[in-house]
């Protein structure tokens, strides 16, 4: 995107109450179609890689679990896997299963959160309220196991900080049955609705070639036909001991990504049930005294995609370099491929389809490319999106 001439742009302040992150998009349009899109980030840059170099190895998991509130189990897991690779240690089997259970519970509530937000953007506030209500039992279960609804602080180098008591397992399985019933109902309600089909099918298509060129990961990639999943490709925790499927869809549109996420909720419940029944006995952590010089990489499949951490150590007790890559960093720039050419009314849902760590479609400003007038801001774009749904509903009767 090169700008030869100066164009007036309106940067809007924090607008919609449901889009929390401060990020600023600029769309250039021609009539109803988007011709260019650009983004300013920096509002959320906290310098975590710099802070990591001032902390000790065992303090860093607490820092990285706060990189993102909703992937707060995947980041520390990827980090401790990187450090365990440097130290050459393997945690005990029970720790691997506990890590699996917590990560999958997080996947369930994160996908349910996304479903709710997507529903809100296209005007289905009931879906929003239901999805967020039915994710509460998952958060309560996590609170019983780890002590907190988010930011569990449960992994450490060498295993887990806390065990799941055996008395809790029957209750957990019973709660999962209830959760599965409600999630099943929600999934059927969303997938069977003809208006949602009309609204989401064919929208924001990311082709398989673009998915490879933009190096996307997670449901964004699996919804475009790229069958990549770190849990299967480079197994960690207990995933290679359990029986589950990788969900892929070839279409590449927003509906495909929604289907991938919804069906993954059911797969996650399947994984947790197996892990809970096969939970081995034994200690839940080993002592790791020193981290020798070296470098290691750790990966985990967060709800949004592959989380990657690289750690380099020089034998001291702090990392010399710690690189954090969240999946949204590669997923969000793919909007260049999926948004250009689509309607303005579809922009909010296309941007939300990559599930950018909360939903960063606030701060949208639309600039008319011919006469340089600003047409509408973030809230109006959501209104446009909902109006399109209403029109489709009217035409379907």
């Amino acid at each position: 995107m090169r700008r030869e001439m100066k164009k007036p742009v309106l940067v809007v302040g924090p607008m919609h109450p449901l889009q929390e992150e401060m990020e600023c998009f600029h769309l250039t349009v021609d009539g109803e179609k988007v011709t260019d899109i650009d983004m300013r980030i920096s509002y959320n840059h906290r310098g975590i890689e710099g802070i990591s170099e001032t902390l000790q190895f065992d303090q860093v998991p607490f820092l990285v679990s706060r990189v993102c509130g909703i992937c707060s189990a995947s980041h520390p897991l990827a980090y401790v896997q990187a450090v365990e690779e440097i130290a050459g240690v393997t945690p005990p089997d029970r720790a691997l299963y506990v890590r699996t259970i917590i990560n999958e519970l997080e996947r369930i509530h994160s996908h349910a959160l996304w479903v709710g937000l997507a529903g809100h953007f296209i005007g289905y506030d009931t879906v929003f309220m239901w999805a967020w209500k039915y994710r509460e039992p998952v958060l309560d279960l996590l609170e019983e196991i780890t002590g907190n609804r988010n930011n569990y602080g449960n992994v450490k180098v060498g295993g887990c900080r806390e065990d799941i008591p055996d008395e809790l397992i029957p209750k957990m399985l019973k709660d999962l049955d209830e959760i599965e019933k409600k999630m099943d109902m929600l999934i059927k309600a969303v997938l069977d609705d003809p208006i949602i089909h009309a609204r989401l099918k064919g929208v924001g298509i990311l082709s398989k070639e673009d998915a490879i060129r933009y190096a996307v990961a997670g449901p964004t990639a699996r919804g475009s036909g790229l069958a990549i999943d770190v849990r299967r490709d480079d197994p960690y925790a207990a995933y290679d001991d359990l029986d589950w499927n990788v969900i892929t869809r070839p279409e590449g549109d927003v509906f495909a990504k929604a289907v991938v996420r919804l069906l993954e909720i059911l797969e996650s419940i399947k994984i947790i049930r197996q892990a809970a029944k096969k939970l081995p006995d034994g200690p839940v952590a080993i002592q790791v005294k020193e981290i020798p010089p070296g470098e290691g990489t750790g990966r985990a499949e967060a709800p949004r995609g592959e989380t990657f951490h690289y750690v380099r150590s020089d034998g001291g007790n702090r990392p010399v370099r710690h690189k954090v890559r969240a999946p949204s960093f590669v997923n969000v720039p793919s909007f260049k491929a999926s948004c250009i050419g689509s309607d303005i009314a579809d922009v909010t849902i296309t941007l939300a389809a990559v599930d950018p760590c909360y939903s960063c479609t606030e701060r949208l400003a639309v600039v008319e490319s011919k006469d340089h007038k600003v047409i509408c801001d973030g809230e109006e774009l959501i209104k446009l999106s909902r109006e399109k749904t209403a029109r489709l509903r009217g035409s379907k009767g």
């Binding site: 607008m15 959320n44 310098g47 959160l113 509460e136």
Partner: protein, 143 residues
């Protein structure tokens, strides 16, 4: 107490600002709207513009890029207004205090432009929705 303050206490409309948080506190705030916690029974509503708000909910250790925007939003809210500072990062920068891009905490940033600002703190990482509702209502009851 002034009649404006009395009116504010009954059904405060809040405007939410994220100044560089991990989104946990923001998700818990939005959770307050959902059926399990249902904050609308107190008349509390999230509004889309600072001009309509009675109270400001701020999360996040203020990043350098977000710093002038937070001050701008504070100036746009009609006074008197209450600033609720939610979460450990906003109350005192939390775990990010050595960051090179962090300019918080929120009360320092706001007091620099308005020493008379009314600020209430709800700590936690993240504070549970019950804690947020309880903190907000307790603060309003003593104003």
């Amino acid at each position: 107490m002034s009649w404006k303050m009395l009116a504010l206490k009954k059904s405060p409309w809040v405007f939410h600002v994220n100044t560089g948080a991990c989104n946990n506190c923001d998700i818990e705030i939005v959770n307050c709207l959902t059926p399990k916690f249902d904050v609308e029974r107190f008349g509390i509503k999230l509004v889309g513009s600072p001009r309509h708000a009675d109270a400001l909910l701020v999360t996040g250790a203020v990043t350098r890029q977000a710093l002038p925007r937070l001050r701008e939003v504070y100036l746009q809210i009609p006074k008197p207004c209450v600033v609720f500072v939610i979460g450990a990062c906003a109350c005192g920068t939390g775990i990010f205090h050595t960051g090179y891009h962090i300019e918080g905490p929120v009360d320092k940033v706001i007091r620099e432009i308005d020493p008379e600002a009314i600020i209430a703190y709800v700590p936690g990482c993240p504070p549970k929705p019950e804690a947020i509702i309880s903190g907000v209502l307790q603060a309003l009851s003593i104003l």
